[in-house]
Amino acid sequence: MTRSVIIIGSGPAGLTAALYSARANLRPLLIEGLEAGGQLMLTTLVENWPGHRDGIMGPDLMAEMRAQAERFGAEMIQGNVEAVDLTGPPFTVRTATASYESRAVIIATGASARLLGLPSERALIGHGVSTCATCDGFFFRGKPIAVIGGGDSAMEEANFLTKFASHVTVVHRRDTLRASKIMQDKAFANPKISFEWNSEVEDVRDAGRGAVTSLELRNSVTGARKSLDVEGVFVAIGHTPNTGLFKGQLEMDANGYLKTHSGSRTNIPGVFACGDVQDHIYRQAITAAGSGCMAAIDAERYLDGIPQEADEEERGASERGTSVPRH
């Protein structure tokens, strides 16, 4: 059986694509993926999702989105896509246990937390090194810890972790934060948070003992080295797009993000991408959801046989006169 559309991924982009394509009677099949629900499943209070003035917990928001898409007939399967063949249509998507065919594919595989890439860091994952504050903060009650990074996720993790840790040191390789103003202010006002600026992590000790005892830091301006005694390290230095499945099939930029044009189109007609897998600039729940909606509409029009040129002509009028920074 060849379906109309398969959606890969179940974060805000994938679930919004599922909602819109279900309401367009496309009976979408959504394959959730290993990290079902996406990055918001690892957050606590989301305060910038419009319509929830007091905020909403990330996992609750995702449960709502999922239920809403299901209500309109989106079919969800748990499972991880292991291979795709985009030489169709029909396109083929394979999990460990089954193979599915469709005339259109919407890719919403998102991005996953990036690590520093030190051997000692890898050796100590689960023994003091973590990428998930909400999962592992509990184990660091009363202990000094470090958060690596200077973006919104780093600030959120640092603030959250002060509930457990005796002290949180934010280690950042620049002298200013990239985080939004409101997140910065929260961190600066928190008496349990201090900062190590211009600092690069050279090593996480002590892999030999199987526990984190300190970070070896190098100041990128002065070259001075110092040791920071901590018992836990939370790495929040950004994300890498989950595009391994599409290598050699879809166009990507130098960092592995899928390239899209004219809305959500990839270089293969019938294959669309939305959310963080194709966005290294905005990376918000709301922009991911918005692009998921675009992908569903683009897929619907593609399946209806509306040529892309007609689409672009229509869109051109509204795009002209706006300037969106791309890099």
Binding site: L34, E35, A36, G37, M41, L42, P59, Q78, N80, E82, A96, I125, G126, H127, G128, V129, S130, C132, T134, C135, D136, F138, F139, F140, G210, A211, G232
Partner: protein, 109 residues
């Protein structure tokens, strides 16, 4: 919710049920508040059915069993440890899919 084939492990029964077990034992360290742990739960249930009679599949709540958590220095969950003859033979930190877990278990059956 959990499959009845999944054994509930505790600080009290760990020695008998895991360390002294004749069969390989898969232990899922988890907690109620851990989102990824909840996502791993159905996989653990399925493994318990798939390996019924050959491998013991158990879950240990780290909130309720701090002694075992600290004995194995579990500082991140979900963590899955595979024991054979009382020794740790495999360790997987974070979410893993069923295929990956089966591959590791099959090495020791």
């Amino acid at each position: 919710m959990a499959s009845e084939k999944v054994q509930t492990l505790t600080d009290t029964n760990f020695e008998q049920s895991v360390i002294k077990a004749a069969q390989p034992v898969v232990v899922d360290f988890w907690a109620e508040w851990c989102g990824p742990c909840r996502r791993l739960a159905p996989t653990i249930d399925e493994l318990a059915t798939d390996y019924d009679g050959r491998v013991v599949i158990g879950k240990l709540n780290v909130d309720e069993n701090p002694a075992t958590q600290s004995r194995f220095s579990i500082m991140g969950i979900p963590t899955v440890l595979i024991f054979k003859g009382g020794e740790i033979v495999e360790q997987i930190v974070g979410l893993a899919d069923k295929t990956a877990l089966k591959k590791l278990i099959d090495k020791h059956v």
